[in-house]
Amino acid sequence: MPFIPHTEADIAAMLDSIGASSLDALFDEIPVDLNCAGLGGIPPSLSEMAVTRLAHGRAAQDGFYSSFLGAGAYEHHIPAAVWQIVSRGEFYTAYTPYQAEASQGTLQLLYEYQTMMASLTGLDVSNASLYDGATALAEAVLMAVRANKAGVRRVLLPDTVHPRYRAVAQAMVKNQGIELVGVPFDKASGITDLAALEVMAGEAAALVIPQPNFFGALERVDALTDWAHAHAMLAIAVANPLALALLKPPGLWGEGTQTRGADICVGDGQPLGVPLSSGGPYFGFMTARQALVRQMPGRMVGRTVDLDGKPGFVLTLQAREQHIRRAKATSNICSNQGLLVTAATIHMALLGPEGLKNVALSSHANTRALIDKLVSLLGVERVFSSPFFHEAVIRVNIPVPDVLRALRAQGILGGYALGRDYPELADCILVCATETKTEDDLEQYRQQLERILSRRNGRDPSVPPCAYK
């Protein structure tokens, strides 16, 4: 009986105390005709040793690749200390810190996290996290609509925002009669087209501003923020938190002395110490101006004092939440991604301001170096002219699926095929090289791509196929 400690003597004594004749008798209130005959369709129990062998076999089947994929999930070095501490049972197996006095460790850590995220994004307040970046964007849209006193239920969502984020936001807000309106991007620069924005102005509760955008390009965030405010809209930033170690924080976006910066900032915290993990768990972050704090969804931790005046931490503003407000809550969310936030907090504490900035700078430099190498090849060109953070778009003159498949055969994941989401970019690949890539990694990519292009374009390969795998 895995994980069940009862001896036969325990069972007999306990049934006796209850006054029941058998375990079956404990289910006597379930109508007999509903009883199922057990779970025979589920495979028999495996020992820990057997399941270990099975899992190792499955993992080995998947192997490792040299990856240049980004598109919203990024490979970064995670200090060894991060997950060793996160895996401590006191963090790993703790419950939500509703009993504050028995949860000061988790609560203080969340307060430290909120402090770090507020500062990183340049805004006043942070919640204790949401599911992921995409759902955080959906919650920000709902929040902006709630905060709109005129009752406007329309939000401008540029096409340069991550396509998956747009899909999730749509799925989460459509049933509340909220309209999400796309904004086209400039085909030369790859950033949101301000002129198009002027044309489509109209009423809206908010404008979403990605930084960097899905193509890795840096948007003109000051102009976009000011434009939103001039049209009585909130500005919702969607940012890569690592990039913010290098880039202007959303709370300071806008030009001139009248600007108040973005009103809400959301994004995915995965680049801050969370492994790629096949897609999750990650965590969504959300920060905002103080004036919006009561519209925020999710948990928040506040500092207070105990009966003796000693400082301590509690979950606060719970009157916004579902367990108190029920149908009138700001969201139905009833968890946060606590363990991932634990990792991110420790990660940021280990890296510090300079370390985090160096990761951002190295990632930027590596992607620049990769792009320079790739566009030097015949048949490859850069697509957008805007400056970029750590991702950029290249165009290739042979079919993208063929390129990516051939690279994969050499142990390289060459990037993200943009045609999936942008039909007009069917010949384009979004590539990313974080600080984890060495000069040799970049050179391998260049050589393999050159070989593939040369073969397909009918020329002799200038570089012999590489034996590296």
Binding site: P2, F3, D10, M14, I18, L34, C36, I42, P44, R58, A59, D62, S67, H77, R88, E90, Y92, Y95, T96, E101, A102, S103, Q104, Q108, L109, M116, S119, Y131, T135, A167, A171, N175, Q176, L218, V221, L244, L246, L276, G280, R299, V301, T304, K310, H323, I324, A327, S331, I333, N336, I346, L351, G352, P353, E354, G355, N358, A365, P387, R408, E435
Partner: protein
């Protein structure tokens, strides 16, 4: 002391980041950050010691018994963690081709199939990232089903008053109006009240069974018949699925949509508040509306079902498909327990709850529903004690912390005054339960003899009772350097 207060300007954990990084001289100055963010400058030892010490201020399953009703705080087997964190699983990029992840997909596909078997549903999607996210998914599918039939007058969701707060909050998020119905004296849904509210506006019913009162809805078949005959669909909140695993399945009861809290029934860790996972199951008529992605198997090859595979899907719920690491832990757990072991979960969770209820009753505590069989949890009401001594359920709960037991769930469900909702789970031994009964009896005695001692609890934790009112009135959500 906060991590920021340990920090020293110029101190660094040198091993952790690229030491030298080239300047970003190609980026326009107006897009760059002027001042550094407020992150601590610390050594690796400072950081490790600080967070290790913080961890020691927490209660956790590994260190304490958590009889926390409705939350299912059972042992989290270590193999689940170790195997979900195999380097290949951790390193895999979510957008990598399916061909590079067949081992990973095989695990998820098996989990999907095992959850179908355990719940009796026609299909399962692993996409939702928490119980509340699963609820949203389920109700959104119900809405999509009615809308697809042009049946758009159905805009009400019926929810019993004992339900989790997430149920009404979810209905609101899906653009529905909530119709709350009362519970009868036996803890059952009031059938007359249900009959009175169903009609052409009914989109569906959300129900937890066993309910949050810790009893099985005996009239479940009748309840679902009333809803279905009115044209509504029935949603099963799987918060208490652990109580009936292998005994009765939601699909056999007649539910159309369900969610399963893997962090409860399948023992993935709570992590101080998350991440969880809330896979959904559906009956045949809701299959076209399942969220994406879910795992498809075609000619022995696994892949995600995506937009092109299911035109009526309610859509995506996350950027990258869900909390994969949680799903892998649940897969390991289900494979270790097997079909027989999963049924034993329900057997022993129920045995422990009924034993604890019986022993507490013998120790002089009032059960909210003494004439009913407890499921995996039960309610004690401290109303008489409060009337006699002024000691409230919250005080009682705080005093239990001093005795090394996490407090039971307090003040939920709201319809039982001064309640403690107690769920021992199957992984606790008789000795632990007996020690808890002793502590409960001791606190009751203290409440009667020295009530101020209990009202001032806790006395032995890192802090004493914290001021919630001050926290909300004088908001301090982020540290500022002095």
């Amino acid at each position: 002391m906060l991590i920021f207060e340990h920090a020293q300007t110029g101190r660094r954990a040198h091993a952790q980041a690229p030491y030298d990084a080239p300047a970003a001289d190609d980026l326009p100055a107006e897009l760059l950050r002027g001042t550094a963010p407020l992150l601590p400058e610390s050594s690796e030892l400072d950081v490790v010691r600080h967070y290790t010490r913080l961890s020691q201020k927490n209660f956790s399953i590994d260190t304490q018994f958590y009889p926390l009703g409705s939350c299912t705080m059972k042992y989290n087997p270590r193999a689940c963690n170790t195997l979900a964190m195999l380097p290949q699983f951790l390193a895999r990029h979510p957008l990598a081709d399916a061909e590079t992840g067949q081992g990973f997909f095989a695990c998820l596909h098996e989990l999907q199939e095992m959850l179908k078997q355990a719940t009796g549903m026609a299909a399962v999607s692993l996409a939702p990232m928490a119980g509340a996210h699963g609820e949203f998914t389920g109700v959104a599918m119900i809405r999509a089903y009615h809308d697809a039939r042009g049946d758009t007058a159905r805009r009400e969701i019926i929810i019993p008053d004992a339900a989790h707060g997430t149920n009404p909050a979810t209905a609101s998020m899906c653009g529905y109006t909530v119709r709350e119905i009362p519970t009868d004296r036996q803890g059952n849904v009031d059938l007359e009240a249900l009959r009175a509210v169903v009609g052409p506006h009914t989109a569906g019913l959300m129900l937890t069974n066993p309910s949050t009162l810790g009893v099985f809805e005996k009239a479940i078949v009748t309840i679902l018949k009333i809803v279905h005959e009115a044209g509504g669909l029935a949603y099963y909140d799987g918060a208490n699925l652990n109580a009936i695993l292998g005994r009765v399945r939601p699909g056999d009861m007649g539910f159309d949509a369900i969610h399963i809290n893997l962090h409860k029934t399948f023992s993935t860790p709570h992590g101080g508040g998350g991440p969880g996972a809330g896979p959904v199951g559906v009956s045949e008529r809701l299959m076209p509306f399942l969220p994406i992605p879910y795992v498809l198997e075609e000619r022995g090859l696994y892949r995600w079902a995506e937009e092109g595979d299911c035109s009526q899907s309610i859509g995506r719920l996350s950027a990258f498909g869900g909390n994969m690491g949680v799903l892998l832990r649940a897969w390991v757990y289900a494979r270790m327990l097997g079909g027989v072991g999963l049924r034993r979960v329900a057997d022993f969770a129920t045995l422990n709850a009924n034993y604890l209820a019986a022993e507490l009753q013998k120790a002089g505590f009032d059960l909210a529903f003494p004439e009913r069989r407890a499921s995996h949890e039960f309610i004690v009401s401290l109303k008489k004690l409060k009337d006699a001594t002024g000691v409230a359920a919250m005080d009682f709960a705080k005093r239990l912390l001093d005795y090394g037991f996490h407090a039971p769930t307090t003040y939920f469900p709201m319809l039982v005054p001064e309640c403690l909702l107690i769920e021992p789970t199957e992984t606790e031994s008789k000795e632990t339960l007996d020690a808890f009964v002793t502590a409960m009896a001791k606190v009751k005695e203290e409440a009667e003899m020295t009530p101020e001692l209990v009202k001032g609890a806790p006395h032995t934790l890192p802090v004493r009772r914290l001021d919630d009112v001050k926290a909300a009135r004088e908001l301090d959500l982020a540290w500022k350097p002095v």
